[in-house]
């Protein structure tokens, strides 16, 4: 088993207004591993990252970062952890290259190493054409990519990225995911927050799903999806009787979605072929699992309210 970089135990953060942003969070992040934090807006993802990097003080619980306590020693946390905040990086008055290089130097990189690494990153993310333009005038996606470069130009042993794919176009998002894998391959531990669940599924090793400040699931994307039902989607006007293998059905206009056990897949395909040529059978992806995990939380709350 590879070395533990971050070990969080029963971490709870209650803000002065009484909101419980993190509620007993426990998780382990290892070197060479990409961990994805998933959760709705307000699920406590950013608060969690802010506690690790020393911007927010936990109410209770323990954080160990490479064996040390970042709460007692935030200066140490900042040296081993490079962080891309969710808000835009400060780019007023500077070019992309200047911003990336100076942050790379501030993070301890040597002049030459930082220069060549900056050039490499700008090329790898295909944003060279804006390298020497005033960065504040660039589009949100490009600025997000520049902020990403600023975080990884001289990467710490832990790299934390808060929604790095926001506003970024699909082609460059792929390049970004590749760089994240490259970082992990070089031995860095990466923790990222994203709402881009379907894309993240291909990149992350460990998923941590947060809901209302609690961890509701942890594991590899494949582990989380295993044993889950499949989905049959078909478009067909008019009513058709529900077959016996169908566990649940959802109608949305002329679209129908049925869930079924993986063992019933061939029966479902045969049945669908008999009714229509337009259908699709999906295995449960991380996104389905995620929605089910977070929806059930909402459902429980609803049930409590009506009973």
């Amino acid at each position: 088993m590879r070395g533990t970089v971050l070990n969080i135990n029963s971490l709870t953060k209650v803000y002065p207004d009484g909101s419980r942003a993190n509620d007993g969070i426990t998780l382990v992040v290892r070197a060479g591993q990409v961990t994805g934090l998933l959760g709705h807006n307000g699920a406590g993802k950013t608060t969690l990252l802010h506690q690790v990097v020393g911007l927010v003080r936990p109410t209770s619980g323990r954080i160990r970062l490479l064996g040390r306590d970042p709460v007692a020693d935030p200066a140490y946390a900042r040296t081993v952890c490079s962080f891309q905040p969710q808000s835009h990086a400060p780019l007023t008055g500077v070019t992309a290259r200047q911003a990336i290089e100076i942050v790379g130097r501030i993070r301890g990189g040597g002049r030459r190493a930082v220069q060549s690494r900056t050039t490499e990153l700008l090329a790898a993310l295909d944003i060279e054409e804006w390298a020497d333009a005033p960065a504040e005038r660039l589009s949100g996606g490009v600025r997000r990519l520049i902020a990403f470069c600023m975080a990884i130009v001289t990467p710490g042993r832990l790299v934390m990225l808060d929604e790095p794919t926001n506003d970024v176009d699909p082609v460059r998002r792929r390049l970004l995911w590749e760089r994240i894998r490259t970082l992990a391959a070089a031995g860095h531990a990466v923790v990222l927050v994203t709402h881009n669940v379907a894309e993240a599924e291909r990149t992350i090793d460990q998923v941590v799903v947060l809901n209302h400040g609690r961890v509701v699931a942890t594991g590899s994307p494949a582990d989380l999806a295993a044993g889950h039902e499949m989905r049959l989607e078909l478009a067909r006007p008019g009513g058709i009787s529900t077959p016996e293998w169908c566990r649940a059905v959802h109608r949305d206009g002329d679209r129908m979605t049925m869930t079924l056990a993986a063992a019933d897949a061939s029966r479902a395909v045969a049945w669908a072929l008999a009714h229509t040529a337009r259908f699709a059978l999906h295995s449960a992806g991380l996104e389905d699992v995620y929605i089910r995990l977070t929806d059930s939380g909402e459902g429980d709350r609803g049930a409590v309210l009506v009973s």
Partner: protein, 246 residues
């Protein structure tokens, strides 16, 4: 450790100077204009200036320049950096907090110097003044600039950006019209005189004036003590806010 501090400091000065390189020249021009403007403009307001009043105006103008830079322009740009997210971003960088503060202070002190000299030069030419400059002037100007800037920083870091913006407008008005900087304290009502015994403005003016004129009675120590205390308080509040974790 010391090397790490200086390395961080040097890089942060570059980072701040790069970010503000389009704004700082403008600040420099406005501040120079203000310092020169006070000397020239007040002379229109009071046509028959006696030498004592001329002296107050000439030494008050550079002091007001330093106050404008430190207590108005610096806090306004810090308020802007809080709105833009630079403040939070810098808090995630692996640099000592004191290096961040020192780098910001350096930028502002350097920006304030040309206006100071220009204001003084204008005064000497306009009023045909004969200054007896003491070597203490370097320390006096540095302390005044530092006190103004740290007080401005403390305000900008502790208060919400909108409040900072309004408060700095009020501050410059008070400093210009209701502070014994360009005129002797005796002209103010008693209650305002009492307030100024605690506020830093009259001590700033006195420190600069005495260091430029070397009065026969010698240079008073009280202004330096009061300004030192204000400076420390400003630094303490600023560092406290910079390291605060909610």
């Amino acid at each position: 450790m010391v090397r790490f501090w200086f390395r961080s400091y040097a890089l942060l000065v570059r980072w701040t100077a790069l970010r503000l390189r389009f704004v700082l020249p403008l600040v420099l021009i406005v501040q120079s204009f203000l310092a020169v403007g006070i000397v020239v403009g007040f002379a229109y307001l009071v046509p028959d200036l006696d030498p004592a009043t001329a002296l107050y105006l000439s030494t008050g103008a550079p002091t007001l320049g330093l106050i404008t830079i430190g207590m108005v322009m610096a806090p306004q740009l810090i308020a802007l950096s809080k709105t833009e997210g630079t403040f939070t971003y810098n808090r995630t960088l692996p640099v000592p907090r004191t290096a961040v503060l020192a780098a910001d202070l350096t930028t502002w002190l350097v920006t304030g110097t040309p206006g100071l000299l220009l204001g003084l030069l204008t005064a000497v030419l306009r009023f045909d003044l004969h200054l007896r400059v003491s070597p203490v002037v370097v320390g006096a100007v540095l302390l005044v600039a530092l006190t103004a800037t740290t007080a401005g920083f403390a305000l900008a870091y502790a208060a919400p950006p909108a409040t900072t913006s309004l408060a700095t407008q009020a501050l410059v008005f008070v400093a210009l019209m209701f502070s014994p900087i360009n005129f002797p304290a005796e002209r103010l009502p008693d209650w305002l005189q009492a307030a100024h015994r605690v506020l830093p403005f009259q001590y700033m003016a006195q420190a600069v004036r005495e260091s430029l004129t070397s009065p026969p009675g010698g240079i008073a120590a009280l202004p330096y003590a009061v300004l030192g205390a204000w400076c420390l308080a400003g630094l303490a509040i600023t560092l406290r806010v910079m390291t605060r974790r909610p």
